[in-house]
């Protein structure tokens, strides 16, 4: 292979789509390293602190798309203090200096300031796509800068970010000459936008295929926009508040009938169930339906709707669909691949909305199911064993039994056998989240059978250090391990320290790990950052020199080439 001219090698590398494959070929020899690095266009950085931004830019000068992830996953659930880190600015600054040809930037769980967005807007003349997922720190002023300066912007996708509202004018900042938008998603913005400016923008962007509106957009406005975008493929409807007798509703129905390309629907925040009829004409074409923000749609109406959706591949619903509703999904949606059932009533003890029955029903009808997120009030081993048999193709299986540490209600046993069946049967399982009452046994199973497992989330589980050790010693492909409220301590932490260099990160909170254990880990493994995160409330009371026996509340360990980071706040101690 080394006798091939570089252009040929580069061409061959073009066929390698995954980052991992490209990373591997670049280690073969210096020539390949060089060819690969100059030809890499898409760069993915899973942990923003694993490598310095400048180094990434230097290695991949031809980079066009950059993805960076910041905070650990448990930050989604308020387990990571607010100012922990994950700042986007250093990345944007480095890219501005090193890769001015950047076209796409995707950030997840990072702190993005308006300053960063302004810098972004001005630094990359070919910038085409900005995707921010679960980020925070910016306001609509930052969005205004993007709208104003990014000529030729194709995609602005804001997913579930915390955006401070500084007024509605940002959308009007798209110049009249902007006709390039293909995807616009501002569903997470709480404030109003200038509806007129939006409608004009939508009308002139003839290539627009994805439009996700926020709750403030009225149905009248939606109807007008739909009339101008009959080729829309994805739609987020906004609040969808309309009187079924209103003229706007009729116009909406008419507009929907013309949208023959619509495949994905979401939104419906305030919809009256009666008005769902307006989308019946589109349902047979839908492959993606997200009703997880529509608590107003209850069982019967939901079921009526779903009966029309026989091509559905991805369904997100609230648990008010009930087990019966899931049975209807099972019989209607034979193509279903991904199902997410979210709780609508988190702390209530009200009627259990979905149980193991619903999941079993789904598994018997939807044999193509490969991705599951299921919040329920109870689960049984028998059900899990049945599900494992029916659906051996799971790649992502996340089960959340709302009551932590709850056993199988039929047998009062832990759910070890149930989850064991899942990992044994689903050989391609890459992601697993556990819940319910679990002993060390489940980890024995996981270590033994979950060969492809990459991410494991553990909460309120296990009896002893053995549990964690089974996992660390067993799962060859483990990349991310996150544990909370489980009895794993220093012995487990230090059992297989080399393992952590093969993983992206380890998170442990409310476990039995002590400061001494963390120090020992840091001392043994210089290429790991061992962060001890103290609760802010406590840090004032913290003694100057806490003893090594002191249990660590939160610990985040990750491999890094960059050494200790210099932007850590006071309450984070890097050992």
């Amino acid at each position: 292979m080394t006798y091939f001219p570089e252009e040929v090698v580069e061409h061959i590398f073009d066929f390698l789509s995954s980052h991992r494959d490209r990373n591997i070929v670049s280690t073969v020899c210096k020539a390949w390293y060089r060819v690969e690095r100059l030809s890499r266009r898409i760069v993915f950085v899973g942990n923003c602190y694993a490598v310095r931004p400048g180094r990434v830019m230097a290695r991949f000068p031809g980079m066009k798309c950059l993805s960076v992830k910041g905070k650990p996953h448990f930050a989604d659930f308020n387990l990571v203090p607010h100012d922990w880190g994950g700042f986007a600015l250093p990345w944007i600054e480095a890219a501005a200096r090193g890769c001015p040809g950047l076209e796409e930037l995707r950030l997840k769980r990072m702190v993005v300031s308006d300053e960063s967005l302004e810098l972004l807007a001005r630094s990359f003349p070919n910038f085409k796509a900005l995707v921010l997922v679960s980020c925070e720190g910016f306001t609509t002023d930052g969005l205004a800068a993007i709208a104003t300066h990014c000529r030729g912007l194709r995609e602005l996708d804001l997913q579930e970010n915390e955006v401070e509202d500084h007024g509605r004018q940002w959308l009007s900042c798209f110049p009249d000459s902007c006709t390039s938008l293909e995807s616009l998603n501002f569903a997470c913005l709480k404030g109003e936008v200038n509806a007129g400016a939006l409608e004009r923008l939508v009308a002139r962007c003839v290539n627009l295929r994805s439009l996700k509106l926020n709750r403030a957009i009225s149905v009248e406005s939606l109807a007008r926009m739909l009339a101008r975008t009959p080729h829309l493929v994805e739609l987020g409807t906004g609040s969808f508040t309309v009187e079924h007798r209103a003229e706007a509703y009729q116009r909406l129905i008419h507009a929907f009938r013309k949208c023959k390309s619509l495949k994905s629907l979401s939104g419906f925040w305030d919809v009256a169930p009666r008005c769902l009829q307006s989308i019946y004409s589109i349902c047979p074409n839908l492959t993606v339906l997200n009703l997880s923000y529509a608590p107003a749609i209850q069982g019967a109406d939901l079921v009526k709707l779903i009966r029309h959706c026989f091509k559905l591949q991805k369904l997100w619903v609230l648990d008010c669909i009930r087990d019966k509703g899931l049975a209807v999904v099972a019989s209607t949606c034979q193509e279903l691949q991904e199902l997410r059932v979210f709780p609508s009533d988190i702390y209530g003890t009200g009627t259990a909305a979905v149980t193991e029955e619903g999941l079993v029903a789904i598994s018997s009808g939807c044999s193509k199911l490969n991705s599951l997120l299921y919040f329920c009030h109870q689960m049984t081993n028998a059900a899990l064993i049945t599900v494992a048999k029916n659906c051996p193709h799971f790649t992502r299986f996340r089960l959340c039994i709302l009551d932590p540490g709850k056993p199988d209600p039929d047998t009062n046993q832990p759910l070890d056998e149930g989850f064991g069946a899942i990992v044994r049967s689903c050989k391609d399982l890459r992601r697993l989240s556990l819940s319910g009452l679990l002993t060390d046994k489940v980890f024995l199973y996981i270590g033994e059978y979950a060969a492809r497992l990459e991410m494991l989330s553990i909460a309120f589980a296990g009896d002893s250090d053995k549990g964690m050790v089974y996992v660390l010693n067993g799962c060859k492909n483990l990349r991310k391990l996150e544990i909370r409220d489980s009895p794993f301590g220093d012995a487990a932490l230090l059992e297989n320290v080399g393992k952590y260099e093969t993983m992206r990160s380890l998170w442990m909170s409310s476990c039995d790990v002590t400061l001494g254990g963390c120090k020992a880990l840091a001392a043994k493994m210089p290429r790991l950052n061992v962060e001890v995160i103290n609760d802010r409330d406590e840090s004032d009371e913290m003694e100057e020199n806490p003893s090594d026996m002191h249990k660590v509340e939160k610990m985040y360990v990750y491999r890094t080439l960059a050494g200790a980071r210099n932007d850590a706040p006071e309450f984070v101690e890097i050992l």
Partner: protein
Amino acid sequence: MSPPLEHDYIGLSELPFSAAAAAGAAEDGALNLKETELRLGLPGSESPDRKEKVGLTLGLLPKVFGSGAKRGFSDAIDGAGKWELTSGGCGSEVEGGKGGALFSPRGEDGGGQLSGHGNAGKDVAPKADGQERKAAGQVGNSAGNDRGVAPAAKAQVVGWPPIRSYRKNTMATNPSKDKEDADEKQGPGCLYVKVSMDGAPYLRKVDLKAYNNYKELSSALEKMFSCFTIGQCGSHGIPGRDGLSESRLTDLLNGSEYVLTYEDKDGDWMLVGDVPWEMFTNSCKRMRIMKGSDAIGLAPRAMEKCKNRIRISF
């Protein structure tokens, strides 16, 4: 951007609701109104009986009032805050739980505090076991409660269930499914209601969606209407000022200030503060700042429905 408080989503039907359900409905008879009544409470706390409550409140109030359980709105908020701080101690935890229970904003903070407390309570023989922490969080609150802890009681654990904050926040502002009226139109992003004040020459309008809780609303109203109170703004030419100031003084002496009331969807005049914030914004049609003395007429009927009052103090 101001850092969000590290606290949990508080659903509308949390512990007190379940406690009420489990404890039966002796007072309300066959209709079991208590079961459907939404109460605000710190997690792990028990909503006390109404009769007990009055006595309890008086004992805990920082100020001494005349008759009835009257408190200034800001006192209620501040009082709740004080109670929270003492919730670390065992003895006052019960009162703290009960007394501070009634406002959703404090409830949220309390929730965060409590669970933070629970998690930080390393001295409470920590097994890293959720059950243990739940118990720790619950122990103080249910101690001494004569109704006992409902079997279905759940304490709040930080970050559990694992739902993204964005989703929690969004769902919190959605109307409760049971209360949804199919024909009801909701404003796109604002909800302006008229606010009148007894003795003021003109009304104001406020956008309820601009506030997240009762505390913010009350501060805004205080600012808006402070110019109508005696001694703060002399240029309004309110007739009979002297007479007003005399009764105003009396009012102050008796500790009865203005009372904030609202007219709900059914046309009833209710005292502001009883129901969860979201329920209030969904049902409020307009508001009226009544003189405390006027509100007494409202009281007997309203007393059945509430445990506490929101007052504006100027």
